[in-house]
Symmetry: D2
Subunit: 294 residues, 4 copies
């Protein structure tokens, strides 16, 4: 079937390619003319036959708002917009309402897959009306991995991004779990080959996983990770997961600890630990390090 | 080759079977005569040709101490004892010293695999002198899963149990990660099919793993886990992991949070939250629930 | 000076009384005619001479929005509204803008003091333009405790409620700290008098505090807190503190742990621990408790 | 009454002085002859009349073991040793047994007070037989602050150090609580005077405490703590508190988070966050910082 894609970065570009390989007709638009199939969003809409389907794959937040605003005025009754970016689930309701006012459908799609997606397929979590989701099913089938997994219609509008967000929250804590175990093993004298311990875990253990496989790949490249800094960004979805948990009074101790570990990793010096040092100095005459001694 | 196994419970019994299928000669002893091949530990030792190899597979702590004490007096110079139980790594040094005083070798083996081990093999993490480990290699080869993974000589005596202990610590945090994500999804109205969300994650996602597969199996049996209580024991290895981290000043926030969540799950009522309630009542006249109202 | 107070509950009523004792003229309005000095908000405004000052002391959220909306239409240029409720700091900017459009000033005041406030004074943290804060200074002076502490002009609009919110976040973690220590002491056989340990800490220790005094009072009423349930509500400000931390990428491990402990305390059974139990059952054949056995 | 003190460092020296001011006869011994009243431990014992009382005030661990071993051979039936150092409670049982074998009594005393102790008194938490504790009561009375607080006979041998250890665990979490709140306030634009916010809290708030007073003192010296590094040692008692909690399956989320924050503060670069960065790089092609770029 026909589909437009707005945003042809690493993700959008590979998705266009995977859809074409599956025989679909894709019209892609990107601000960068070297990547784009058409000269403008107007051109993209013109090239699609009604009812149109447009997959938005641009950064979450203002960029997505802008594209959806533009599509709201360019598309017609019965067309459908898919937001495949990493939008916050609360944005979905707004976008759906805005489009519904003009009779345009909306589906939110959380997409996992990263750099392997082109070859292995993308895991898709989607939210929206069953009718809208059904119309897009050939597209989802082409994008998802082969086999029985990798696609779910999770619920109504917002459910797709919510599910993807929770996926990322879980991911944070799993990464933290392996990371904590690795640091502890690296600290213990009796264990002299942590990398091989990790490798051995890839089969027959309770903790085997794709992330573990990646950890072994990373250790094969740099056994003690000496070429990296202990510094990790967070993409926003971890924070949203914790915010959603606060809204629902759900305790998330491991996921939140993992997020806070990333926050701390980005601080040159910890303000709160300065206060702890200051208090120790006040009450105990404890020796503390001054900033200069660093 | 020949090997004795002491302890023929679920794990030991299956390991005897897997070794026999691989062509090894196994003499098993268990206090339960219905499981045992011989009438006593003395018989077991008598049936093995020197140099003997005896794999101890009994509960960690006093039971293991007793068996190793007995073997210390029954075995001879050049024999080797393997402790395949869940012993604390600090016990290994003691056992190794005690046996070394009589010229007997010692290898500690952390074993993962549970009820699938008989069929799929057991992941093994071992510690000990290279010479001792090498002599037992045919046994390890028969027990481990096929393929390049599932076995590691992690380091000197203690390293095997240490690596297995860290494996379990990581396992705690991974289980907690999925559990937190599941609870959050179950709380959100927009998502109407949490089980299918979990199922979809089994392919193409960053968080696919064997534990995720098990989660889906569990949800297939009982979609909202209504037949279970939110109650989880801990086997000791999680606590030891945290203790080891304290010894080495390694922060383990996610693993420790997972362990504490288990502690809390086992309390009928939380004493510390009684104190929080008491303080709220004192300073704010906040309404609190009395024990009777429960 | 003259001031109106809207909302004469436990806090508002006592503040009216404290202001009157200090010689100020207070006109109070409450929906409950038994508490109210006047019949309506219109009456309250009529009774005040321009420029008017109205202190709003109603529940945060919709109730506060409604009162401020009404005051926006009843008050005039140069009047000032004070929000002394537990509003979220993000509401303050909205209220200030709405009022400023009509030339009315706005000051947000975080108030601490609870049931002791009438007698000992209320700690006040206020935000707003210096000019507005200065006009209200006689009122703040009358409400605050005697002495050099208990009042701060923390910054611009929103700063008062933000400072009060952080105060409450710190309060959560301090309460949790004493509560954890108390539970641990109650569990240890060698210590036979935990209440007296707490009492002894009231002087000469690093951890002496007003909260500790309250803990001793609570233990004097009920030595082992047997008459309370381990159940604690949260007032919203703890969650907002964590949300603010997420916005600024500040790690708050102790405060967040304290909040999550309250969430857990309110669950009859923990869904996430059901999932942990389910996973243990799947991979290990571990015995778990069924809901029925409970 | 008469008492010997072994160890005349900052704590022991001030305690000698406070006891002398109260009219007691103190014989002090220190390895440093400039501090010592006598030339040797033998001399100290000789100078005391039976039944003797010796207060040991040396670093916990080997130094304390050595002194108590020596006293075991120098003292006689009916004498009493007090360990006033920061010993682990598990050491107390050992020391008590060793001394009891010779008829010598043992009392463990947790001491809080730091540099203010000489003037304000030391908070004392003691463990031991009532008979031994009673004999030392004049000494405890002289050391403790005036008033009804600051002394407790917490239970049998070990209870004093256990109570002091829990005191320190609570202290860690309280310090962390203020530190987290301070960092958050320092990050927020609307609040322009964090130091004054802290100062205002010293009266009329729920979180007023001695530690808060010290925080204000610290901010008065260095408003944004720019002269300190965010680096905090831990004295051992925090770790022991967590270990005791593990032994008793008591969850200590806030205290443990506070301890881990100190561990992290001492790492130049976080190994575990290197692993997180490595995993992000593997699965997402995320940009990570190399060690060089630092």
């Amino acid at each position: 079937m026909q589909i437009g894609i707005v945003g042809l970065g690493k993700m959008g570009g590979n998705m266009r390619e995977r859809l074409r390989r599956a025989g679909h007709t894709v019209v892609g638009y990107d601000r960068n003319p070297e990547l784009s199939d058409v000269g403008s969003l107007v051109d993209l809409v013109d090239k699609l036959e009604a009812p149109r389907h447009v997959w938005v794959m641009v950064p979450a937040g203002p960029a997505t708002h802008t594209v959806i605003d533009q599509l709201a005025s360019l598309l017609r009754h019965d067309d459908i917009v898919v937001d495949g970016g990493n939008s916050r689930w609360t944005d979905d309701e707004r976008h759906a309402r805005e489009l519904a006012a003009r009779g345009i459908g909306f589906v939110d799609a959380g997409v996992s897959g990263g750099v392997w997606g082109l070859q292995n397929g993308y895991a898709l979590m989607v939210g929206g009306d069953p009718e809208h989701v059904d119309r897009l099913r050939p597209i989802f089938e082409a994008l998802k991995p082969e086999g029985p997994y990798g696609f779910v219609h999770a619920g109504r509008v917002g459910a797709g991004h919510f599910a993807k967000m929770v996926h990322n929250g879980i991911e944070y804590a799993m990464m933290q779990a392996y990371a904590e175990g690795w640091e502890l093993l690296e600290n213990v004298e009796s264990v002299d080959n942590v990398r091989e311990v990790f490798r051995s875990w890839q089969q027959g253990t309770v903790i085997r996983s794709w992330l573990l496989d990646l950890a072994v790949d990373a250790l094969d490249e740099d056994e003690h990770l000496e070429r990296l800094r202990g510094y990790a960004e967070d993409s926003g979805e971890g924070r949203w997961t914790v915010e959603a948990a606060l809204d629902h009074a759900v305790p998330l101790p491991a996921i939140t600890a993992s997020l806070f570990a990333r926050f701390s990793s980005r601080q040159e010096d910890s303000p709160q630990m300065k206060m702890v040092a200051a208090l120790r100095k006040q009450f105990g005459g404890h020796t503390v390090e001054s900033a200069k001694e660093k």
